[in-house]
């Protein structure tokens, strides 16, 4: 049962855990490039799994008022606002936005630009894009000069007031979740056997066994699993163990309107992700990268992996997580040496002359 890679290295976890004829390993591929930040995943997860609320707080961190993965938030949508030209590597070049409009985000001028860039859909009613839109734009009255913003909603039409200049701002949104690691630190250190490996290769807490020792919480290299304060036990995403056993899609993936969260057999998801990455690179999204897909990484690959548009730490993910139990044999050895040193000390201390 325990193979050479049981603690570290590439592995198929379910057979390693002792399952015979285990079904294919299931997982999530979360493609953040199509996430729209709707939080349907957070809501669906709470509703299906009856997860209590996490407090109704305004955190002042963009649209993220969840804060992170906790015992009461098994999906968490991260929101990052950043200047796109400085977003990641490769776009730090000046002129990355050359040729793009610089005026307000919606104005007559941008309408002209938009008219020229629209794709031919093949259903054109035969009206060409207004060639004289610029001239038409000139006839639009300049924004009122005598008005002053008094803290009330404006009454003018959108696009007719000069407000913030166009920025190179971009959103990053990512629905974070338990990674269901190949080598799961939480599972390794659990002293009661409450955490277990399912036949799908996922990691689930048995709530009727967990005694709230809390060891899994600092053991997780991603900071996912957490203790519910009024309950004492540890909770985290189950990858909807109760649904996938019946052939259903997990609640979050089911609810995702853009298929940012994809559920399926891990092998297939990995292939799909590689294809998507290739496509994004073709389209010039150089900063796209996969995270957690690699079976050779520090946790043996994640069951739930991601396509990111910036460095992992920007999303609150560790850049190079390693399962802590990789070093456990070395730790026990060091402890053994220290224990021998203790025994030797006692012998030396008491073997001395009688006094």
């Amino acid at each position: 049962m325990a193979g050479p890679n049981s603690l570290y290295g590439p592995l198929d976890p379910a057979p390693d855990a002792g399952y015979v004829d285990a079904p294919p390993r299931m997982g999530f591929f979360t493609d953040t490039s199509v996430c729209i930040g709707c939080k349907a995943c957070e809501v669906a997860c709470k509703e299906w799994n009856l997860v209590p609320d996490d407090g109704f707080n305004l955190l002042g961190t963009s649209y993220d008022n969840t804060g992170g993965l906790t015992a009461n938030s098994w999906r968490h949508v991260a929101f990052i606002e950043q200047p796109a030209a400085r977003s990641g590597h490769g776009t730090d070049t000046p002129g990355a936005f050359a040729g793009m409009p610089t005026g307000p985000s919606a104005s007559a001028h941008t309408a002209v630009v938009a008219a020229g860039t629209a794709q031919d859909t093949g259903t054109s009613p035969g009206v060409p894009a207004a060639p004289d839109a610029l001239a038409a734009a000139a006839t639009i009255k300049a924004p009122g000069t005598g008005t002053q913003f008094l803290g009330m909603p404006g009454s003018d039409l959108p696009g007719r007031t000069m407000d913030a200049p166009r920025s190179d701002f971009r959103w990053l949104m990512m629905s974070n979740v338990c990674k269901h690691c190949t080598h799961a630190g939480c599972l390794d250190v659990c002293p009661t056997g409450a955490l277990f490996r399912t036949e799908f290769g996922t990691v689930v807490v048995q709530e009727d066994v967990c005694n709230g020792c809390g060891y899994c919480i600092p053991a997780c290299p991603y900071g996912v699993i957490d203790q519910r304060k009024d309950d004492g036990r540890a909770w985290k995403c189950t990858l909807c163990y109760d649904r996938i056993g019946d052939g259903l899609t997990p609640a979050c993936a089911k609810a995702c309107p853009t298929e940012s969260i994809q559920f399926g057999e891990l092998d297939e998801l990995r292939a799909r992700a590689a294809h998507r990455l290739e496509k994004l690179h073709e389209q010039g999204v150089e900063e796209a990268r996969l995270y957690g897909h690699d079976p050779d990484d520090g946790v043996g690959g994640d069951g739930a992996f991601f396509l990111l548009l910036d460095e992992p730490e920007v999303y609150g993910l560790p850049p190079d997580p390693v399962v802590t139990t990789r070093d456990l044999p070395a730790m026990w050895k060091r402890a053994g040496v220290a224990a021998l040193a203790m025994a030797a000390t006692i012998v030396v201390s008491f073997a001395g002359r009688r006094r």
Partner: protein, 389 residues
């Protein structure tokens, strides 16, 4: 110091935010959320000559921690002390009994039971569901130091308990059932005492593995030395009990135990506080730093007192007290240092960045040697800190 670091790490440019005030940008760097805010990496890191000096800046998600700090309360820090004390005093008792020093035997056995009782209380009290503590005995899992610890503590508890109860034999009446107990207890106690002493080194050192086997950055990084800190601390506290309880003519071994234990503890703590790069910082700063410094000073005072005050009962007792307090301070210091390292994302991100950079550099230089080189997921020119120099 900082300018030099930055010269040595040109890739810092990749991690540090570009100058603010980009033309036409609606966002200043600060308005872009904490995710872009630069975090300065420590106060110079102490050792400028180390190649492991991490880059000074990194990005995080609104400064939030990445790994979760332990949810353990100070019960666990207290248990680190009482567990070590139980181990140290049971060794003292065994040594004392074997060499005919009854005062050491008695004090050791009784302290071991007291410390064990306190340990059990702290451990169960810290559970989220204390009434389910017996679930610990469902499994025996070598990958879980807490599971191993439960079994070690159970074995130790039975043995040390028998040894301590046997101390009551002389006060039992000579006849009847209790009289039988009076005759049976001493050999049972002796057996228990030696069994407890055999388990004691494991009890004192497994707690180091317990802390190190987490993703808490400063605990995990300290795994090679932490067992020595805890072993030394346990010996010193056991010696402290001996110095407190035994008359001067029996306390000789306790003095030698104090010296050896203090040496182990100081060596380990010094390594932990100086050789872990940025991950040593949490052990030097804040409350953890104050506790560890206090522990070191008290250890030194205790050892000095134990050696110099060998003819004075009072000085010996004070030294013993000093050693016990030192052990408490050291345990709480190590505990707090780990918690502090988990609360600041820089301790998670910077060492991992450093690791990635080293791996990428190795792959770039050798290529062949990098069996574990993870470069496939890094698109060209987007190197996640990876285009190391």
């Amino acid at each position: 110091m900082r300018p030099r670091e930055e010269r040595d790490n040109p890739r810092d440019e990749k991690l540090s935010p570009p100058p603010a005030g980009h033309e036409g940008s609606g966002l200043t760097r600060d308005a872009g959320g904490g995710s872009r805010a630069p975090r300065r990496g420590g106060k110079g890191g102490g050792r400028g000559d180390r190649s492991m000096v991490p880059p000074a800046d990194f990005r995080s998600y609104y400064g939030r921690p990445i790994v979760k700090p332990p949810v353990w309360h100070h019960d666990i820090a207290a248990y680190l002390f009482t567990g070590g004390l139980a181990a140290g005093s049971s060794l003292l008792a065994a040594g004392g009994d074997a060499t005919g020093r009854p005062a050491l035997r008695r004090a050791g056995r009784i302290t071991a039971l007291g410390a064990l009782t306190a340990s059990t209380y702290f451990l169960i009290n810290d559970l989220g569901r204390p009434e389910r503590f017996v679930n610990m005995l469902r499994v025996a899992k070598p990958t879980s130091p807490m599971s191993m610890g439960t079994w070690i503590l159970s074995a130790f508890g039975a043995a040390a308990g028998a040894a301590a109860v046997a101390e009551a034999a002389p006060i039992l009446p000579g006849r009847g059932v209790l009289g039988l107990a009076r005759r049976l207890l001493p050999p049972v106690g002796t057996a228990g005492q030696y069994a407890a002493a055999a388990v004691a080194p494991a009890l004192a050192t497994y707690t180091a593995v317990l802390l190190a086997d987490t993703a808490t950055p400063s605990w995990h990084a300290a795994y090679p030395e932490l067992p020595f800190v805890f072993a030394g601390s346990a010996l010193a506290s056991g010696a402290g009990v001996g110095l407190l309880a035994a008359p001067c003519d029996q306390a000789g071994p306790a003095r030698r135990m104090a010296v050896c234990g203090a040496a182990l503890e100081l060596y380990g703590a010094h390594r932990v506080e100086t050789t872990k790069g940025i991950l040593s910082e949490p052990y030097r700063d804040g409350r953890a730093g104050r506790l560890l410094r206090a522990g070191r000073a008290l250890t030194a005072i205790g050892v000095a007192g134990a050696l110099l005050g060998r003819r004075s009962r009072v000085v010996s007792a004070l030294s013993g007290l000093s050693l016990l307090t030192a052990s408490v301070a050291t345990r709480f210091g190590i505990f707090d240092g780990g918690v502090a390292s988990a609360k600041d994302p820089k301790y998670t991100v910077l060492p991992q960045r450093e690791r990635l950079a080293a791996r990428a550099a190795a792959a770039a230089n050798g290529g062949a040697s990098g069996t574990d080189a993870k470069t496939t997921d890094v698109p060209e020119g987007s190197g996640s800190g990876g285009i190391g120099v």
